[in-house]
Symmetry: C2
Subunit: 355 residues, 2 copies
Amino acid sequence: MASITEVARLAGVSTATASRVVSASAYPVSAATRARVLEAARTLDYVPNALARGLLKSRVPVVAVIVHDITDPYFAEVVRGVEDAASAAGYLVITCSSERNAERERSYIRLLRSMRAAAVVFAGSGLDDPALNEEMDRHLAAMQADGAAVVHLSPYAGGSPEVSVDNAAGIAAMVAELVALGHRRIAFLAGPRSLFVARERLAGYRRGLEAAGIPFDEAIVVRTSFDADGGALGVDTLLASGAPFTAVCCANDLLAFGALQRLAALGIAVPGAVSVAGFDDIPTAALTAPSLSTVRLPLREMGRRGFRHADRLLAGDVPAAEIMPTQVMLRGSTAAPPAADAPRAPHAADAAGVA
Amino acid sequence: MASITEVARLAGVSTATASRVVSASAYPVSAATRARVLEAARTLDYVPNALARGLLKSRVPVVAVIVHDITDPYFAEVVRGVEDAASAAGYLVITCSSERNAERERSYIRLLRSMRAAAVVFAGSGLDDPALNEEMDRHLAAMQADGAAVVHLSPYAGGSPEVSVDNAAGIAAMVAELVALGHRRIAFLAGPRSLFVARERLAGYRRGLEAAGIPFDEAIVVRTSFDADGGALGVDTLLASGAPFTAVCCANDLLAFGALQRLAALGIAVPGAVSVAGFDDIPTAALTAPSLSTVRLPLREMGRRGFRHADRLLAGDVPAAEIMPTQVMLRGSTAAPPAADAPRAPHAADAAGVA
DNA sequence: CTGAAAGCGCTTACAG
DNA sequence: CTGAAAGCGCTTACAG
């Protein structure tokens, strides 16, 4: 692979001059010289060595995105958004699936530091785990001290995210829609207790209930993992408790998928007997049967803005935090409760028997 | 950030010695010296500069995965597999969503070359586009000439993939299952005509039919894009044609999702009136209602092996190509045809009217 | 077993 | 407008 030395030699100029033209520096170079260098670069198929350049700048045009799991459609969307904005700016994106595992995060951050990645975008929410967070902070401080940009797209221990969405308002809006449909016994599948974002969403549920004058009932709030298994388990738990409900509001779409499936397996009609609502609007939400009513988060756009925020940070700016809008998407999984005047648990006894 | 020079100074040794211990070189260093260097590295929180090292080796521990779209669950799984194996080996993974767009691929390959990525894994199938392929080959040849490893996980213009699956056999196995269920009019949603992998899958469909002694009927084969929209469109096309069918075999799960949804919207029962089968077994395939019968591809494992293949290539080995097994997963979307003795198009006229 | 020195491919004061 | 030279942080013959 040709180096700038060879380009300079072929063009008959110094490497300084060659560098100035191929790196699009603002330094003045005569048009004739410039043309000769460009010509030489072309004939040698010259591709600058990002490592050599990075060694000087102590920074390489690479952004890392830390996700819980790239296989989760929520994160895949965010990564895609980061990628779109990043590649437009000549950056490459590194994907790190941390599994919320301290050891994995630690080793990723170390690799990223060794690579002199220019920026790190944390796509997922932080966990309320003091030990993990203390260690994370040390690494982050080191990266920032090196001049790397750090951006969060979800709440975390260190404070509020630079680019995000109002999770609580989003859930509250969905609760309001369910109430408007006639529901008053609205169960909530809350996700993991220690995940900051799950906490915000639970707060949104309470706020929505409050706005409608409906008392909060701990008996119909279930905390499970943030995935489809958690949704199925949540339905089982709700049914087993015997507490009545006509709608299940879920803290994310995966939970809703699991709930939908479990309900179908139990022969409980959606939305005939129970309504189900999700949150996030991942691409497949429109493909379930019935299609899922949910709250749309501008996931891809959050990724794009996350990159741009980092890019501005790198340029020395201090951009303001951004909060993006959410939007309720009413589809096939929600409807009025079966008997608006006397809401009861749908086949509670039968279903529990089936389960 | 501390450099090796500072570590060496603190330990009271030369940078050569310090380098030998921190880089785990095989070069002999006395135990006492080694301990002092390690201690210095620890107190300075020394993280080696991968760029400086990469500049010498002209290779950095980074693998790139070229996918069509990271947002497609098929690719997210493969990327995750690559990531798991790569991070275990101290590599970082770069994600490139090419959108099968020549310009995007070109610019990615250029960035990757400039970064001296050690390996490139092509997760998706090639397109039968001579112009694009000719250009791709040039870049790849340049990367390989630089010593980078290149691995394909799906068929492409240049030959057969290093790590893959027998697509044709997989589809043929699914056709055999449908036949065993009593179907003889099995429609096929084939995906894009120019994608090599779609061609293999179509060949598998023909082979499956042939094995069952069922004549191939072009009238019930539809070619569309490889996504849910394509599946919905495929169902409409099939219904509009008036040709009878009792099952729809799809070349991938996304197509099947679209078909399932369209069929539900038209009020055509699955699997009561028509059976639907997918291919790939992406994670959400088990979550649709009815759950999707499909063919499981070991996506994550393909990713892992893809990395390991690249790693071996980098080590100078010439590993043999690997073909991994597929497995038919029969779930809720397939059953015996409605009237095994007289298969007809389900509500063909009505449905077409609805559409 | 240890160290001095060259060199990987760039960019950037600095001098002209 | 152009170029000689230093230096970014490593590793590796080479000499001892």
